[in-house]
């Protein structure tokens, strides 16, 4: 572990402890909850809940998350490219670097355009 991360680790503990400890402390400060019955039901504008909420939802949410993962991978490959790009440009290798990235992005853009044409990105 590089020493620069040790404060981060301690800070992480602090940051998780802060809300957790306050949540626990708040338990002692506030008056005990005496709620029963309807108050503890999920809020559905006053009507008793019809069903368990953990049911089926639209597949579109999956498509959004899936496309996000793919584009996220793409971004993570773009970032190392981006930080080296100026160095390559300075030694006039920029064109090669750009073409290799255009190829990478181009292949993915084919997929994007296919989705766009198919209407798979509607609503999405």
């Amino acid at each position: 572990m590089q020493s620069a991360y040790i404060p981060v680790l301690i800070y992480a503990v602090l940051v998780i402890a802060f809300p957790a400890v306050t949540l626990i402390l708040a338990k002692f400060i506030r008056p005990a909850s005496t709620s029963v019955g309807a108050k503890l039901k999920p809020y559905e504008c006053g009507i008793p809940p019809e069903s368990d909420s953990r049911g089926r939802y639209s597949v579109r949410f999956y498509i959004v998350a899936m496309l996000f993962v793919i584009f996220d991978v793409e971004t993570m490959f773009l970032i190392p490219w981006a930080i080296l790009y100026r160095g390559w440009v300075a030694v006039h290798q920029g064109l090669f670097a750009l073409v290799s990235m255009v190829l990478f992005l181009g292949i993915l853009l084919v997929g994007y355009l296919w989705l766009y044409k198919k209407g798979a990105l509607e609503w999405v």
Binding site: V8, Y11, A26, R30, L67, T75, A82, I83, K118
Partner: protein, 456 residues
């Protein structure tokens, strides 16, 4: 044995006292800052709607955040019957933890940073703050209510859609910096003598829109659209748990504003910071006195308001606020005029400019919230997937082309504008083409429901 542990602790504190102090300060002060941001937001909203806003607690409602905090702390804690107790407890903690932890990577001034000089700097901030999505989606799932789960799914769908655009905007800026280290990013802008907002305006715009959507602020506050979803993923959360989500939301706002400030607006640099380093006096160096001027104006305003206060206590309070402003002004003046204090210039003025820019960015968020009506969810997703993402990808490539052209023309600093501005203009033309295409595509929109791609 005891002494050796004691010695090790001393060594440890010696090595890390500054970042640790920053950490403790952030955790201790941030809730307060967030409280006051909320107050400022309410006051601004009231002002724009010709109301007064909170006035009761303290002079001009200045103690309102503290009253709110106490209220939230002692409120009844309701856990719904069918909730998953462990996850219900964990989710708000996760949300606030991710938002606060990501602050560790940011540098308020050259010295105020918890993760000093880490190699992955900006990615650390972006990556860790993205983990907050689990707080949202798990919180919505745990409360076992339709509104919560729907709000959580919507919110996280929105977050992930705009994260890609934000990431691409980030890449555009990183093309100029050549590093991920936060300090080096700011230094690169100092060396270049020009902020990246000028060199990559389209990326800044993309990041701006994406960051509003990522923080669930109006006009993209779909997850909490009261008229449709009650309060989205927070519906079942009350009292202190709710306030943790609230804290996370505002902390996230600070995070995105800081990232934008660091990447595009020159971080802690003063405008035209290059002239400060030059020997002799340049007329642009009057900017060194702007902080003082600002403080004096606020102080004088407070003094002038003193007679209008109804009670003695409030008058005294106003005077104290004015005095604080003057003292702050003096502190900000010292590094400019007192020779001994010169080494602290970067620290003190850096902090001022950074906070100033972050405040402006957040002010812009608020302004938008008071001005623009809410989007519909499909409009929001279309804006993200059909407009921002292709635009930002094209922008990355065009900025790359511009940089190559710049290297052949041997351009630096302000000269780079010669190549980046045409690139930005081309990107804008592409943007208008995309918009026109979208408009044509969406013209016969009513039949769309029948040919639903994912139905069934």
């Amino acid at each position: 044995m005891m002494t050796s542990i004691f010695q090790a602790t001393i060594e440890f504190l010696k090595a890390f006292w500054a970042p640790l102090l920053c950490g403790v300060a952030i955790v201790a002060v941030l809730p307060l800052i967030v409280g006051y941001i909320v107050l400022v937001e309410r006051k601004l909203m009231a002002d724009m709607q010709a109301r007064l806003g909170p006035m009761r607690v303290g002079p001009h409602g200045l103690l309102q955040p503290i009253a709110d905090a106490v209220k939230l702390l002692i409120k009844e804690d309701i856990i719904p019957d069918n909730a998953d107790k462990l996850v219900f407890w964990l989710a708000p903690v996760l949300s606030v933890g991710a938002a606060l932890l990501s602050l560790a990577g940011l540098a308020i001034g050259p010295a105020f940073q918890i993760a000093q000089d880490i190699n992955i700097g900006i990615l650390f901030v972006v990556g860790v703050s993205a983990l907050g999505i689990f707080g949202i989606v798990l919180g919505g799932w745990a409360s076992n209510s339709h509104y919560s789960l729907m709000g959580a799914l919507r919110s996280s769908a929105q977050l992930v859609s705009y994260e890609t655009a934000a990431g691409m905007a980030l890449v555009s800026a990183l093309l100029f910096t050549g590093t991920l280290n936060i300090k080096s990013i700011v230094e690169a802008q100092n060396k270049e003598g020009i902020w990246f907002v000028m060199l990559a305006p389209v990326a800044f715009f993309t990041y701006l829109v994406a960051s509003i959507a990522e923080t669930n602020r109006a006009p993209f506050d779909l997850p909490e659209a009261e008229s449709e979803l009650v309060a989205g993923y927070m519906t079942e959360f009350s009292g202190f748990r709710w306030s943790l989500y609230f804290l996370a939301e505002y902390a996230n706002m600070i995070v995105v504003a800081s990232v934008a400030t660091t990447l595009f607006l020159g971080g802690w640099l003063r405008p035209f910071a290059k002239f400060h380093e030059l020997p002799g006096f340049h007329w642009l160096n009057f900017l060194d006195f702007v902080p003082l001027l600002l403080m004096v104006v606020v102080g004088v305003y407070c003094v002038q308001r003193v007679p209008k206060q109804p009670t003695r206590v409030q008058q005294l309070f106003m005077l104290v606020v004015a005095g604080l402003c003057f003292v702050l002004g003096l502190v900000l003046l010292a590094p400019v005029v007192v020779p001994i204090a010169k080494p602290f210039y970067a620290g003190i003025h850096g902090g001022f400019w950074f906070i100033f820019k972050v405040s402006l960015y957040i002010y812009f968020f608020m302004w938008l919230r008071f001005t623009i009506p809410r989007y519909r969810f499909d409009q929001l997703m279309r804006l993200g997937w059909h407009f921002l993402i292709p635009l930002s990808i094209i922008n990355v490539l065009l900025v790359g082309v511009a940089l190559i052209a710049g290297s052949y023309l041997n351009l630096h600093g302000w000269g780079l504008l010669l190549v980046t501005t045409p690139a930005a203009i081309v990107t804008l033309i592409v943007a208008f083409l995309i918009l026109a295409m979208e408009k044509e595509r969406n013209a016969p929109q009513d039949q769309a429901a029948e040919s639903d791609f994912y139905a069934g």
